[in-house]
Subunit: 423 residues, 2 copies
């Protein structure tokens, strides 16, 4: 604790105020392996939060790929190199017809920032739609799609927000009515953008609505919306930063589970197991329109080290059957979550190793209670987060090597944590 | 060549059109060390272009730092970790009074995107000024500061461009009048932004005007501008992505050479010797205003591996005397450039290991001839680039381990290249 206090003081002095940390008593992590992290005192924590360490913390094959390539060559893409091409081939083989080209960036924020301009280039229009409870990154342009804080000068008029699907208060009043009600709000927003002379360039969304709290939607949910967007001439920009790379178990991408083919797909967090690499996959016509209009170059994007890291991640997913593990352990864990018994637990749901436990009291979201559970779990050495409109949904999104034993440990800690707080 | 053609075909198929490459016959690079790169046939090239490989390509100390930390822990900054704090202390010790806090990103583009919002948060205003011949990165917001291509919907009204200083056609008619003329144009732009109700948030510039062609300005050049910007309540955002980290030899930062203290400094390319790491240094009040207004978080920014790479770079600069080498070899190389004799050579200038050879014909910029020299140099296995309004200035910006022998090789190749083209 003395050590932690000193680090907290140094952070305030060197980094400034409001640099986010987890927990009232932040953890001082010094080492990671598989599903586990260790603090400076050698205490072990089960990581049920970190989707970035997709293959497990410090996976030796990824570390070796980074080390070997960093020792051989690390330069920009204005010279020819096999790395980016070998990676593009391996990655694009994972996509359905039409999604045939790749642009590489360093972060998911940069990828989403590019995706917006792809839609503008392809349509010649400026307007975008996103949900009213989401986050697509931290650049100026994509931060405008987030509702967290108003930008200086106010929200731009060419961005419209539609109500997110919700499990506690479904759009249209019922779960069945939600898909049509979501599409109807999109139609209104498109009409508004056109009336304001911005025109409609695209809709950006996460196909499992991760930040919105993974509401209990089913395949086909977006069908009315996709149809509508296409008829209006807009593009569907699918943010796979969270669900992608096999996490949802049944499919490699969220949009394949939902059953539609986006125009642009963005990738980030897990792509390099922590190495800063991200990308945008698009149809050739969309890519060409962007490359004509904007002439993009990214100094670090697609460098040989980033590509080696990303290729190793794809290989580990395949070799170790991580998608199958997500399906298997995810189903086991979901059953365990559904068997937990506590008055605050409203719903347990999710896909593969992306699960949510929704807390409510008298039908209203129980955000404070969820915060208490997260702190109780930290005391029991299990790291997890929260999502949803009121941050009332416990988010379970661990490294993909999460085992049944890990699931048992998580469930036992959850059970004890719920017993430790008032009902 | 068969191999290169195959790679070019794969690039077009997998990455799309207009992905920039250098040279009519792009080089297929497979290995790097120090100032040198090797192609797939084992041919060696002298790298006089790449400022990213600051400590030399694949510097073993940086590679070892990355490998060791990647094997131990790579996670986000919401847990406590010494890495970002040790790096911040080492970096901030290199700055003058007041520039006391650091925010870490992954790319210089992200850093400049943050810097703009820092100025908006600190001033409550929206308007920015940049020069009319520059580049500050590839996000939507910072691409608006570039004049390369118009965005969809046109240039935003809250960005104003002022004429860049120029050596062939100095502002105000003479080199002596240029500083006051530059400031006078800034004053006009500030008045325009205020009249348009945007207000004036800040001026972003590179302190050596690198992309503008490193016009022959002297310390004190910005004094009238800095005074004016401060009186107007705006911030000076100093983009040190190119000149920083000792490259200019006499000083560690471009602004220290020019003799002013910016409000915000952005860092990028050389910071991690190719590892994707970048950052923003600011005064505490500016950092606090940004952190209050925007609540920024960057998943990969400031992770332990990036910080280990960046700290190793600072240590190598110190241990190997790279700033002193830039001063020494840079002066030697500049003398050699000044001794080159050819009718097209108008001026040789620069600072440390950031040098320019300006080509002109009858007082007009000779961009095509500069392009021919770059191709001639490639044929002689020396890699270099171009800058300036007409891309008429040969840019020499090599790894900081560039030796006198390397300089001799470069000068001999330049001499032969000039002899190979018509006068």
């Amino acid at each position: 604790m003395a050590m932690a206090n000193e680090l907290i003081e140094r952070r305030a002095r060197l980094l400034g105020p409001n640099v986010p940390t987890f927990y009232a008593d932040p953890v001082h992590i010094t080492r990671g392996a598989g599903s586990y992290l260790w603090d400076a005192d050698g205490q072990r924590y089960l990581d049920a939060y970190n989707n970035v360490a997709h293959c497990g913390h410090c996976h030796p094959k990824v570390v070796e790929a980074i080390s070997a390539q960093a020792a051989r060559l690390n330069t920009h893409t204005r010279y020819l190199h096999e790395g980016i091409l070998d990676y593009a081939e391996a990655l694009l083989a994972r996509f359905g017809p039409g999604l045939d080209q790749l642009l590489m960036t360093c972060t998911g924020s940069e990828a989403n920032d590019v995706a917006l301009r792809m839609a503008q280039a392809a349509t010649g229009k400026r307007g975008f739609i996103a949900t009213d409870n989401t986050y697509h990154g931290n650049t100026t342009a994509v931060a405008h799609l987030s509702t967290r804080r108003p930008p200086i000068g106010g929200w731009p008029d060419h961005i419209r927000r539609v109500p997110a699907p919700d499990s506690l208060a479904p759009l249209g009043g019922t779960a069945e009515a939600q898909a049509e009600a979501f599409a109807a709000n999109i139609a209104t927003a498109i009409a508004e953008l056109e009336a304001a002379d911005h025109g409609f360039a695209g809709l950006m969304l996460c196909p499992i609505f991760a930040n919105e709290g993974m509401p209990g939607i089913a395949p086909g949910f977006l069908d009315p919306t996709v149809d509508l967007v296409r008829r209006a001439g807009g593009l569907i920009l699918c943010d796979e930063v969270q669900p992608g790379f096999g996490r949802i178990g049944s499919h490699f991408w969220g949009h394949d589970w939902l059953g539609f083919s986006p125009d642009v797909v963005t990738l980030g967090k897990p792509m390099g197991n922590g190495h800063p690499v991200a990308g945008v996959v698009a149809r050739p016509a969309t890519m060409a329109a962007f490359r004509e209009a904007f002439g993009y170059f990214n100094t670090f994007g697609g460098n040989p080290v980033s590509c080696a890291a990303a290729l190793a991640v794809l290989e580990v997913i395949e070799e170790e059957g991580l998608q199958e593990n997500a399906r298997d352990v995810g189903a086991y864990l979901l059953t365990g979550l559904q068997e937990l018994s506590h008055p605050l637990i409203h719903d347990a749901r999710g896909l593969g190793l992306f699960l949510g436990l929704e807390l409510a009291r008298d039908g209203a979201p129980a955000g404070e209670e969820a915060a208490r559970i997260v702190e109780e779990m930290r005391a029991r050495h299990v790291l997890m987060g929260r999502v949803g409109r009121a941050q009332h949904i416990l988010k379970i999104r661990p490294p993909m090597v999460f085992s049944r034993d890990d699931a048992d440990m998580l469930l036992a800690a959850l059970d004890a944590s719920f017993r430790a707080i008032p009902a």
